[in-house]
């Protein structure tokens, strides 16, 4: 039979990454609770509940033995809760978590085989369907209420200021707002101090994951430097762009997901760099208010298209990936030239789908 080639990340590595993500998310939620009040906890609870129910039901329906110990669904749910505003209606979080499990995870097996990051897919789903609910943030002093409550006041985020050509003043007050996270924004994305804590944790636990994060932030900073939106000094412009929206959160928590991001150092740097450029371009030209998470999905779909590296073969040496690509092409050609390929014979290799 021969030695089985290791192509996927291992269950142990996946579980370890999810454990880190859950711990970091809990920390960020605690900070969010301190700033925004109890609505943060309700949101997280609803996301968790929805994710758990969907995970259990889906795998029960599929009659598959499911281990909940890989913590993938918990990590997805908490990431979604952190990306949503604390004042978002609860059904938004529930829908996003359900979508992450049902659409982005279940059809592809499990979290280790999903071509798209489930949390990113879930958030993008609600961002497109319910943009107003997903991107309405409470003003300072109006936290701890949902957006449908009476007297709710919408806050002005850094993104709003940047789109007007303004930015936050980098005096003591402004810096303290950035560090503490009191500026309007999504739950887990506003506090620079908390995000710095995430950075330190990742640096201590898995420094490799910071390669793509760092290149993501560097490319975004370079873009902000070359194409500033604010008329003040360069440093203010760059800091404002980096602190606006969910850019840093995306860099530290999403873009470096070991399942969807490349396994090799140079590729991880390139992946993060291109992701950063795309997120900045989407900010300028896209139709979504805060599109950084969409850049993760776009990288998930572009990377396999151009490099041939998928979730299922990224640990293979380059020569083997090329060989696989050549034999894949030859098989397609053989069918195209020698045999009459039915129009619907899309996956002739699979032949009934038996698990090899």
């Amino acid at each position: 039979m021969g030695k089985t080639e290791k192509t996927l990340i291992s269950k142990k590595e996946y579980r370890s990454y999810n454990t880190d993500t859950v711990l970091l998310s809990v920390g960020l939620l605690a900070v969010g609770f301190f700033i925004n009040g109890s609505t943060v906890l309700y949101q997280a609870a609803v996301c968790l509940f929805s994710s758990a129910i969907c995970e259990y039901l889906c795998f029960a329906l599929m009659l598959r033995k499911k281990s909940f110990t890989d913590l993938g669904f918990i990590a997805s749910a908490l990431l979604i809760a952190l990306l949503l505003p604390s004042s978002a209606p609860l059904f938004v979080g529930a829908l996003a978590s359900a979508f992450a499990v049902i659409a982005a995870k279940l059809p592809f097996g499990d979290g280790r085989n999903a071509p798209f990051l489930p949390a990113a897919a879930g958030f993008c789903f609600v961002a497109v369907l319910f943009p107003e609910q997903t991107f309405t943030y409470a003003a300072e002093g109006f936290t701890a209420v949902f957006s449908s409550a009476e007297g709710f006041e919408k806050g002005k985020t850094l993104l709003d200021m940047l789109s007007e050509g303004n930015s936050i003043r980098l005096n003591l007050f402004g810096i303290s707002r950035l560090l503490s996270g009191t500026l309007p924004g999504a739950t887990g994305t506003t506090s620079l101090l908390a995000l710095f804590g995430v950075f330190l944790y990742r640096m201590l636990r898995k420094p490799f994951t910071l390669l793509s994060s760092a290149s993501f932030i560097v490319s975004a900073a370079l873009f902000a430097l070359l194409f500033p939106r604010v008329n003040t000094d360069i440093i203010t412009g760059i800091i404002s762009e980096l602190c606006a929206g969910s850019l840093i959160f995306t860099a530290l928590m999403l873009i470096n997901d070991p399942v969807t991001s490349p396994a090799k150092p140079l590729r991880a740097i390139a992946y993060g760099f291109i992701g950063g450029i795309i997120s900045m371009l989407l900010r300028r030209f896209g139709s979504i208010y805060d599109p950084c998470v969409f850049s993760v999905l776009i990288m998930n779909l572009l990377w396999p298209a151009f490099t041939g590296e998928t979730v299922s073969n990224k640990l293979l040496p380059k020569a083997k990936v090329r060989k696989q690509k050549r034999s894949d092409q030859k098989r397609s050609e053989k069918k195209a030239v020698g045999e009459y390929v039915p129009a619907y014979d899309l996956f002739s290799e699979e032949k009934g789908g038996a698990d090899e």
Partner: protein, 247 residues
């Protein structure tokens, strides 16, 4: 009498298999464009189905009667011309259906004339077959397409329309998603009730094969180069000169 009964049974089986077991959208991944862009409500789903039906019937009939002698690269031009002609003839009907809709929808109906499904069915089946089998194939393909189009239209109109303020046609990813889950449910049903057809869903060897038509009433064998994966009433032999492996 038994001959008529057998013929009716075979037609019913063919219709059922062509429409359900080998559904053109769910197993063959053709005709997706119309469903994604056009089936934004029940009304549009029905209208798309009727447009496809008329076009497919006429194209298959013309293909089997007149176009067999032409090379394939020329036949496709005729399919497009016939499709455009049918759409032009149905213009008042399209106007009634799409009134009050967006400007995209008349274009979706027009583009049904160049639907890949028409060329695929004509080339795969009509030019190698007889008129009566083509009519059955056209009806079954239309029924299969229509079932999916109406389902997606219903979901777009009553689920998506109520869930969000964004018009359903603006969200193509929802149509693809629903199609994917419907295809999965379809596959599960085929696996449970028609397991012998299951391998055909992917390899579809039977769809390229010469089909030996058995008429129990007459006790004779007729050979017919038809294709739609009819495995219950027909024996299947590989078309391309080689016998199927294992037979």
């Amino acid at each position: 009498m038994s001959r008529i009964k057998n013929a009716v049974l075979k037609v019913r089986t063919s219709l059922f298999k062509g429409a359900f077991v080998h559904n053109p959208v769910l197993t063959q991944a053709t005709g997706i464009f119309a469903i994604v862009c056009g089936a934004i409500s029940l009304r549009y789903g029905i209208a798309l189905t009727l447009t496809l039906g008329a076009t497919l019937l006429l194209c298959e009939a013309v293909a089997v009667l007149l176009l067999k002698a032409l090379p394939r690269w020329l036949r496709v031009a005729f399919y497009a011309l016939i499709g455009a002609g049918v759409v032009y003839a149905l213009d008042p009907f399209i106007g009634i259906i799409s009134s009050g809709g967006t400007r995209a929808l008349p274009l979706c109906f027009c583009l049904m004339g160049v639907n890949a499904l028409i060329a695929v069915r004509c080339e795969r089946f009509a030019v190698k077959s007889k008129l009566r089998y083509c009519m059955v194939d056209a009806f079954s393909t239309t029924a299969g397409f229509g079932a999916v189009a109406i389902a997606i239209g219903l979901i777009n109109e009553f689920a998506v329309g109520r869930l969000t303020d964004i018009p359903a046609g603006r969200l193509p990813f929802i149509a693809f998603l629903v199609l994917g889950f419907i295809a999965a449910v379809h596959k599960a049903v085929i696996k449970k009730f028609y397991p012998e057809e299951q391998s055909d869903t992917f390899s579809m060897r039977s769809s390229t094969d010469k089909i030996v038509f058995r008429d129990p009433g007459l006790g004779k064998k007729k050979t017919n180069k038809a294709a739609s994966g009819f495995s219950e009433d027909y024996d299947i032999i590989n078309l391309r000169g080689a016998e199927r492996e294992g037979e």
